[in-house]
């Protein structure tokens, strides 16, 4: 997104066109991140809407000061996901029902890749909370290491280490299931 800082500043002054452009620019990425975290299409849709309504309410309080807007936005999404997981008692480490994941996500998957994404959805649920977060932010939402670090409130070195451990754990899980 070009000149995001200026767009965010306009949005903070109440420029509706700027807010709408930020919404369009981030909607799909936020949805993907949430979908991978919660594994259910209906929940992902509800939470995505809540995230953007929250952004609308609180964009005035965002302080640029070196924190990327994407990191702030994904932090809101993360908090909404955590609230949801707590409410539905799907806390970290609890396995997702595979058939439920399959049915919920089926509509949005490309047919030829359906199997792989389903496997991924199930396998990700067996990672730790932090590992799930890094995989979702890096590979579903497409955030850089720097943006992921800001969103998770950790150093870039810590994110690289977490990314490594998450991929090792994911590989172990996927290999075990074959």
């Amino acid at each position: 997104m070009q000149n995001e800082e200026s767009l965010v500043q306009r949005a903070q002054r109440g420029d509706q066109d700027a807010i709408a452009r930020l919404y369009e620019g981030y909607f799909d990425r936020i949805y993907r991140y949430i979908a991978l975290r919660v594994g259910s299409r209906e929940d992902a849709e509800d939470i995505t809407e809540q995230v953007f309504l929250r952004v609308l309410e609180s964009i005035g309080s965002f302080k640029w000061r070196g924190i990327p807007f994407a990191a702030w936005l994904f932090r809101i999404a993360h908090n909404q996901v955590i609230d949801h997981l707590r409410k539905t008692a799907k806390g970290e480490g609890l396995p997702l029902d595979e058939s439920k994941a399959s049915a919920a996500m089926e509509a949005e998957l490309l047919v030829e890749q359906k199997l792989d994404i389903e496997q991924l959805l199930v396998a990700v649920k067996h990672l730790t909370e932090a590992q799930q977060e890094v995989i979702s932010l890096r590979f579903a939402a497409g955030l850089s290491i720097a943006e992921t670090a800001r969103a998770m409130g950790r150093s870039e070195g810590a994110i690289k280490a977490l990314q490594h451990s998450a991929l090792v754990a994911l590989r172990k899980r996927l290999v075990e299931r074959r």
Binding site: Q16, D28, E45, L56, E108, L120, Q163, H164, R171
Partner: protein
Amino acid sequence: MSMGFEEILDDCIERILVKGETIDGCLMAYPGQAKELEPLLRIALASAKASQIEPRSEFKAEARYRFLSALSAKGRGREKRRSLGLRRWVVASIAVLVFLLAGGGTVAASSGAMPGDPLYSVKLATEQVRLFLATSDVARARLHAQFADTRVAEIVIMAGRGNSEAVEMLTERLTNHLEQIVNLVGGEEGAEIDVLVALLEGNAQRNQAALELALEEVPPQAIPALQHAMEMSRTGYERAIQAIEGHGGGNR
């Protein structure tokens, strides 16, 4: 300073996912770590398939409408008129969206769709587009009055089919249309408002009569839901008319 394995892994992930390099190309750049890198890079590539998850187009359209409505409501509190730029953006994007989503023929075909029909969501989306394209709050209020009429007609049909759940859902939407009319033109005055009140009074009578007539013919299981719809329709129209007339001064 030599790179640690985590840095090398991330460098390869960036090369492959961002720059489009191959796994083999990256392994050649780090031959000493190739054996350990390869399986992890393959998992990273598989994980990147998550970026192909797409929200449903129908959900995107509905969510965009709700977000823009919330944005518009917030903007109305800030300033009386929306910027021309946003207006153009909304008109262009929503119109393109609906036609992408459904196509002109589908939009036309959806006008008779009922809840549960595949085209009913297209019918609702079309109503939302018409609201966005309306040029004034009075025009939007008139559209809400028209859509309230449509909801009553749908209530009669769904009650006739014995579908109480659909009747309850439609009653909620009917109430919402009537509330929106007050939100849009409450506090306004003038000839257009007088015409709107007259329209609502006529619609209220006609719709109440239609619902009463339906009550004699619907299956027994739909009677409580239909009676509730009658009550909500009666009180909803009364409240809307009173709220608008209360601000209308001596014209009425």
